[in-house]
Symmetry: D2
Subunit: 340 residues, 4 copies
């Protein structure tokens, strides 16, 4: 009953096997390994983007911060939702990588920016030398509260962004695709996205994220920034191998489907329990819920692990995240404990 985060799960056997296979012999370092050639080709196929630049890094914060840095100058503004991971959970990494840019927080229910709120924020920024200049938009999908933008919703945001480059923080990109049935292309460049953090770690890898840049003119700058951030791996083959396994036979989508199914089973079960209230639409693998005070103690005694959240007096709240490795038994055990 481990629902603390999808990053507490291990990796499936295919990933371990790929690591082991990759270990044989010598390999050219720094991203010039032959496995990476295959990954690059495969990512381009997945995104139907034959010219895209494709890079691997080991953490989502690196993927996001480097993406921001190639889109936003030091005097620029990044428009993102007020719950965005880049604002809340990266200890100022984007500002560090951008050399001091500013995140402008856009409100919106259930973790989603609305096109109107985004347009208003952009219109209210810049206009003279005295303020930071609108530079980019960053959209998180799956959002930080477990809701999911459809491709049409993404497209509406990128339309509101006008000429600004748009980044998709896809730490849970696979979960968003599974949730919507969209293709990777539909969710990204066809909807106006320019750069994607294509997550792997939260969905079954050890530590590997791809950055997909649809305009290859940005590629060399990305490579230099990655290097000087210490995110270019010498023994890169072990990152490549993870992504190679991830993409093979659509493992990435299979894993996300398992996580989302577990999320749905959990949410559906919780919705049926009196006194439990779901705080946001559960569209992928994250559940935010509120219940009467005193429930935490009972759940924890039963062995449930998750994050507490702030709640009104008399209530408790929680964030639960399912993953590819969540079992029906985990879910049902939790529901039984909650119901008791």
């Amino acid at each position: 009953m481990f629902f603390a985060s999808d990053n507490t799960s291990g990796v499936p056997a295919q990933v371990l096997a790929a690591i082991t296979d990759a270990n044989a012999g010598y390999a050219t370092p720094y991203g010039n390994d032959t496995i990476m050639d295959r990954v690059r080709t495969r990512v381009r196929e997945v995104f139907a983007a034959p010219d895209a630049a494709v890079y691997l890094v080991a953490t989502g914060t690196a993927a996001n911060s480097l993406s921001c840095a190639i889109c936003c100058p030091p005097w620029g503004a990044v428009f993102c939702h007020e719950t965005a991971h880049i604002h809340v959970d990266e200890c100022g990494a984007p500002e560090f990588y951008m050399g001091g840019g500013k995140l402008v927080l856009v409100p919106g229910a259930h973790g989603k920016m609305t096109p109107d709120a985004l347009a208003t924020s952009i219109a209210g920024t810049g206009g003279s030398v005295h303020g930071v200049q609108p530079a980019m938009v960053s959209v998180t999908n799956v959002t930080e509260v477990g809701s999911v933008y459809t491709p049409a919703e993404i497209a509406a945001l990128t339309a509101a962004a006008g000429d600004l480059p748009c980044h998709l923080d896809g730490a849970r990109f696979a979960n968003a695709l599974v949730a919507t049935g969209a293709t990777a292309a539909e969710m990204t460049w066809k909807a106006g996205i320019d750069v994607v953090s294509f997550g792997g770690t939260k969905n079954g890898l050890m530590g590997a994220e791809a950055v997909v840049i649809f305009d290859p003119a940005k590629a060399w700058e990305f490579e230099l920034r990655r290097k000087r951030a210490g995110h270019l791996f010498s023994k890169h083959r072990y990152l490549s191998a993870q992504f190679d396994a991830y993409l093979k036979d659509d493992l990435w989508l299979t894993l996300a489907a398992q996580a989302n199914a577990a999320g749905k089973r959990l949410a559906d079960g919780m919705a049926r329990i009196a006194g439990v209230k779901l705080l946001h639409p559960v569209q992928a693998n994250m559940i935010f819920a509120q219940w009467p005070a005193g429930t935490h103690a009972r759940l924890q005694a039963a062995g449930a692990v998750y994050y507490d959240m702030p709640a009104p007096d008399g209530f408790e709240a929680a964030r639960l995240v399912t993953s590819w490795s969540t079992t029906d038994s985990d879910v049902d055990g939790f529901l039984a404990a909650l119901h008791a």
Copy 2:
């Protein structure tokens, strides 16, 4: 006959096994995994430093740059040898992490700073608000040209550094210990070193380096800087597992001993070949050599892989690096081709 770099080698079976073992079940993320508890304890034992702060990152550039950042303010000077990796091979990463500090290059034969040259550089820096201020010293051991400082030589440098904190770039730390017979403590804090980049990747890990900070007052700043650089791994257990295997039964020293032995066999063989000149003392696993023009073509035709280096007219030069996985057959094959 793959001598391009020790980072082109794979990892030994023990490391793969540790990764596999670590994969079972759920683990607390972000460095709070139980394997890391063991690693922390073991590193402290290895360094005879029970209060040291111990952190893992995935690349040497991250280890070095974060080490510089906690020792040197944006207006500070880092004194290092003119061949130092932090100056030559990290695309300005230390400057990025420090927020604009300056590397002051200290000369010295065979990749080694002399205490006098270091003292002169320090004395010539700062002294008024108009220049950057002396802030730290960074010593590389094994040096970038394959020579090795003894603990006494390190101590002489840290004495010349006076009150400045001293960092050891130990990307090949194990090779330096094997070369000198020194203990980790003798090579570091007993010789006046304050922070160590304790390398693993070049010596048989996939991508894992420890940073050992003898003054734990710097620990929290390190953690924040690591996080905001994107170098805090969520699935940290896979870094921990690598280091756990590395330290178990002194595997790290065994691997380095193999690499150094191969380096010695290669150097000794080359020294016996007429027309081949070793450019620097070969004390660990790196050989810099010069030979007559035309030799490259013959060696490469025989399948040898290594880096070309600049050479005077009529000559060619090369850097060769051995690793834990270099075989006697690799070495002897190369010597045969060179001799031909």
Copy 3:
């Protein structure tokens, strides 16, 4: 009828005379001029702070950004009102100087943070390595909308700030003192302020601001940061001379009294005109007002200069700022045009 900003005014004769006097002969550069000795002493007297470090720079953005940089590390959060100049009008200068810190915006009516809102913001920030850490508070007095904090209100904010260092953006510090009758000490260190941007430019200087740091342990870092930002003047005597004249015979308070009196005359007059609404309490020299659509054209035709502000449909809004050089005739002319 020039109400665009107090920075559109010239300087009084005393300042010109001081510049001329300072011009004689040679002077030691970089803040070591003898006039600065006098300024330093006089500022310490004004603030009743005999140990304070006192520095001059030429712009308010420099004063504020350097103040932030010595109080807030790159991973820190600066708590300020959502209208703060450091957030809205400095093009990200604080983030640049801090190396990427984050401004956390605190709400509050009429440009003022409330202690509760500040405490809530601080409590909601940091707490783990994943977010930026509470680092400092910056209070603006006179606020950006023309209201004024009393010393008691400042003290309540610094109490809410707990151990965090507190900065006062006093671009209109003299106006705030005149408005409240407080002494410089009462408005600053006695109320818990640690660093002050003591403005001169908006109140009759050409371009000179003092930074007053009550804890002299921060002085050397400030000097180095000022130098490396290009804000250490070689011919510093011309900055010193401005501040010398400013402080002599309380010229600074006299000038602010004139500006505030003009502001009051203007506000009082506007309040008597039907259809004109003052949007914020007018406590110093800034007036924010709303009036019926069509009024701008009439005022501008009459020669009035000020900034338009956003307004609801059917209305217009304006910001007007008076200065030491605003005349009764300017004010009365404006009121006549507005009334017409």
Copy 4:
């Protein structure tokens, strides 16, 4: 007998008068004053560059650092002489402004880079993602040791620079023009220079430097960087007025001619005194000299002020700088004391 630096001199009457004239009435702030319109036009005429972007800042460090920042990305290398002011005397300001770029030091006698040494440095930098990338060249004229590049020498350097943008640190630009008889255009864009720090402060202004950018595509970035560095003056008219007076009737060249003539008189006199050795060619207003130990005491007793420099045992060395305000009497008094 004040030869410490040209920045210890005051300003001529014309500059004071211009400041006084500029003080009348209200002026649009932030560089939009009408005097600046005149300055902009006049600078373009002086440089025969009708499209040049022209900006004013108050310090040479600001001019140089902003110039570097618009030419060199954070991962770039600036090639400059090892004595360059940007390396030695700005406390790392260029690195701060560039976000961590690296200065690569080029050797050369008498403060001058040679084209060959520059080409070698450039060729040895970059070439892979592991090192910083060649980004720009910065040439100082007058050099830091008082020698002067001719336009042909500048052109040879910019040719060696290939496609890299070239900056001229002209803190003593007027002195260089007077020394060579070149026009501003010949010394800059006709010789391949892209951006100029056109100094005023060392040559008779209070604190004003122009930055002249021949490619106006860089202008907006410069404006934003200037603003967020706190170098955009609200009461900009007082900077404009200084430059307006400076350019009127070629005052700037007259002042530099006086400084250079004094320098020549001083150097010629020193060269005739036995035991005094000039260390560098004296081509403008700076003299570096060596003399027997014990001389300092005698000169200082006579009231001479200058900087000591390191010297071999048995000798002393000094830097002396003349300015527009140096009198024949100052020079002759010094020579008499030196001769005694």
